[in-house]
């Protein structure tokens, strides 16, 4: 009876919520109050795929859903990003019959790293994809090893783990797990590999298991690459799904020597997201030809790039995540490598988070702003409340001081750009700050 009531309340709550434009976690919250173990009482689909990691999970989940749907499967996933237990409950119950049977072939869940253990208390994913674990929102996450420890209880023995072989930390989830239930994706040494690490910190310098020195045959970015601990032997395992060649200039990724995928977005991070999605879908029995067809030139719906004009400037806003240096480095590298035309760059740090207040800016020191030290970046505007913190950080780059200017007031920076110049403009900022520019009357958004 409680089960029936919980489903009814959840469905009704979701219906009303949609009408009034409310979020998707509240109906699940009520359902859990009525029946706390409701998730263990419903009949779930044969495949429950969870995706987590510091970066790329939203993109990976979107691609997995697109592939599985193209292969004829019915997929339910949390497109609205409600990835805590309440949101998952809403998603499951609103797609269930009143008898509690979910009407789908696959339940696909983008899972918050810190809350996964709670979300999966009452049921376990059949496949668990971990894209990577590195420095991300340390004000709430502590540090990557803290997140690892929080995530570990979510990995049930019967769950098949689909892990990034190139990440020395998240690969440790295989420790103590049945080896037959671990599948690895990774990238061979290829055109973008380097012998020296990049980035402002060396989280790959020490083994996450024993803290011995690690050696790398090659790096792909940050601590992602072919590592080997000189003390305990922790090393990159052999991969089941492999990027055997990557040509970012031509925009072609080759998986397992024969599956060629055209890249709509030519970045190493996109390559890893595709590889994770490929591995998960292959494990669900999807033919590689279908994956190739769906993912070639796939443009993400949740794309974080926004084109616009401001005066005579053609602008591209690259949404990063504050407090996530890898996300910033990704976009700074894009500006460095994707164009050689003269351009101006705006970096906006006005509110560190849209969810909570903090004045914590130590993460600026983890970002490799020297990527902007290149000829075609002619001017850099440091904007927002924390423009001075940015300026102190820029004082420790090799970028000449005459190239960057401070505009704590974003409107003032926009007005200046509107009245002057016609060079391309790139904006690097977070969800919390992007609309402070995009909503200005002088800014005209354009379709991609």
């Amino acid at each position: 009876m409680r089960k029936f009531l919980a489903i009814l309340v959840c469905k009704a709550g979701r219906f009303v919520g949609k009408l009034v434009g409310k979020g998707s976690s509240l109906p699940g919250k009520y359902a859990l109050k009525i029946c706390p173990d409701i998730l263990s009482r419903v009949e779930l689909p044969p495949h429950i795929i969870a995706v987590t990691g510091s970066n790329g999970k939203t993109s990976t989940v979107e691609m997995i859903a697109a592939i599985l749907r193209a292969s004829g499967k019915t997929v339910v996933y949390n497109e609205e990003g409600s990835n805590q237990i309440e949101g998952v409950t809403t998603m499951v119950l609103t797609h269930a019959t009143m008898g509690g049977r979910m009407k789908a072939d696959v339940l696909l869940i983008e899972s918050d790293e810190r809350y996964a253990a709670r979300s999966f208390r009452f049921f376990h994913p059949t496949e668990f994809v971990v894209s990577n674990l590195y420095r991300d929102q340390l004000t709430r996450n502590g540090h990557p090893e803290w997140v690892f420890d929080a995530l570990r209880p979510a990995m049930a023995p019967e769950t098949e783990l689909i892990l990034n072989a190139d990440d020395p930390l998240s690969s440790c989830f295989a420790e103590g797990h049945d080896p037959k239930k671990v599948k690895w994706f990774g990238m061979d040494e290829c055109s973008i590999s380097t012998k020296e690490p990049s980035g402002m910190y060396r989280d790959g310098a020490y083994c996450p298991i024993c803290k011995g020195h690690m050696e790398y045959d090659y790096y792909h970015y940050n601590q992602i690459g072919a590592y080997r601990c000189t003390k305990c032997g922790h090393q990159k395992p052999a991969t089941n799904y492999t990027a055997t060649a990557v040509d970012l200039d031509r925009g072609v990724l080759t998986i397992d020597g024969g599956v060629e995928i055209a890249l709509a977005f030519r970045s190493i991070y996109n390559v890893y997201n595709i590889l994770a999605a490929y591995a998960a879908c292959r494990e669900c029995g999807v033919d590689s030809g279908i994956i190739q067809k769906v993912i070639s030139n796939y443009i993400l719906k949740n794309g974080r790039m926004q084109k616009f004009t401001l005066g005579q400037h053609h602008g591209t806003l690259l949404t990063s995540k504050h407090e996530n240096s890898v996300a910033y480095d990704t976009n700074l590298r894009y500006i460095r490598e994707e164009t050689h035309d003269p351009c101006a760059v705006m970096v906006i740090v006005d509110a560190v988070s849209r969810k909570y207040f903090t004045s914590e800016t130590s993460w600026l020191w983890d970002i490799n702003f020297d990527l902007l030290n290149c000829g075609h970046v002619e001017k850099i505007l440091l904007c927002g409340r924390y423009a001075n913190d940015l300026a102190v950080r820029f004082g420790f780059t090799g970028i000449p001081e005459g190239k960057w200017e401070l505009y704590p007031d974003i409107r003032e920076a926009a007005a200046l750009l509107e009245s002057r110049g016609d060079e391309d403009l790139y904006v690097v900022t977070c969800f919390s700050d992007r609309d402070k520019l995009l909503d200005l009357p002088a800014v005209k958004k354009e379709a991609l």
Binding site: K211, S359, W365
Partner: protein, 244 residues
């Protein structure tokens, strides 16, 4: 002057932009006309601690901290002698815990600290996180920063921050934070501490000069970005604190 900074385990203990404390200190010392060398120390490497003007270690994960401690213990006697001799030093983030008598991990395993001070650190499965707005006996204006730790630190008799208006201190909410004795500075505050607090950086520089018996130059360069950065953070945190 020719000054030497020793930076212990810069890669292992590198969370929360820790390197910026050492980088900014170096920059300021050079701007005062000094020649500064920075010597980094990793596992098993030697260090002439007696010949250093400043010792520094930054924040690391709890596992990295234990690995650092295992190696750092061999310097314990030298570091204590340097402290007694007035050498300036900063142990930031989890590095602070190494100076005490012991560090207990979240499973109850006890690790012996170097015993420069008598305090003890007990780590748990909960993190204390949040902005900090604090008072220090060293100067009038507030100290700002961010707390991100999982240890309760007991037995500090001479804290660096005497009270907090906002944030978690050594062992309680709004309680005293850090450790300070003579020229030894220690704090779990990130920011990084010396970057976010120009006056704390000034206090460290004064300590370095004091030990050398050299007066600070009268003409000290201005750092408007650092000053403004501090002023805005101080204002923002005070606004929040006033609202409560």
């Amino acid at each position: 002057m020719e000054l030497k900074i020793i930076h212990f385990y810069p890669d292992l203990m590198s969370l929360y932009g820790s390197y910026a404390n050492a980088a900014l200190l170096r920059r300021h010392l050079e701007d005062l006309g000094n020649t500064v060398t920075v010597e980094t120390v990793d596992y098993g490497q030697t260090a002439d601690i007696a010949g250093a003007d400043f010792l520094y270690m930054g924040a690391g994960t709890e596992r990295s901290q234990k690995a650092a401690l295992e190696d750092f213990r061999r310097f314990g006697g030298d570091v204590k002698a340097a402290a007694a001799d007035g050498t300036a030093m900063l142990f930031a983030g989890t590095a602070m815990e190494l100076l005490g008598a012991s560090v207990t991990d979240c499973d109850g395993k006890v690790y012996e600290g170097i015993g420069l001070a008598g305090f003890t650190s007990v780590q748990g499965k909960q993190r204390f996180v949040g902005d900090v707005y604090a008072t220090t006996p060293l100067y009038g204006p507030a100290v700002v920063g961010y707390m991100n730790k999982c240890a309760v630190i007991s037995g500090v008799e001479t804290p660096l921050l005497s009270s907090l208006n906002m944030g978690f201190g050594n062992e309680t909410e709004k309680g005293p934070e850090g450790y300070h004795a003579n020229n030894v500075f220690a704090s779990e505050l990130t920011g990084p501490l010396l970057v976010k607090n120009p006056l704390m950086l000034g206090a460290v520089i004064a300590a370095i000069y004091r030990r050398r018996g050299t007066a600070l130059p009268e003409d000290i360069p201005a750092y408007p970005y650092e000053e403004q950065g501090y002023a805005i953070t101080e204002q923002q945190l005070r606004l929040r604190w006033d609202k409560k």
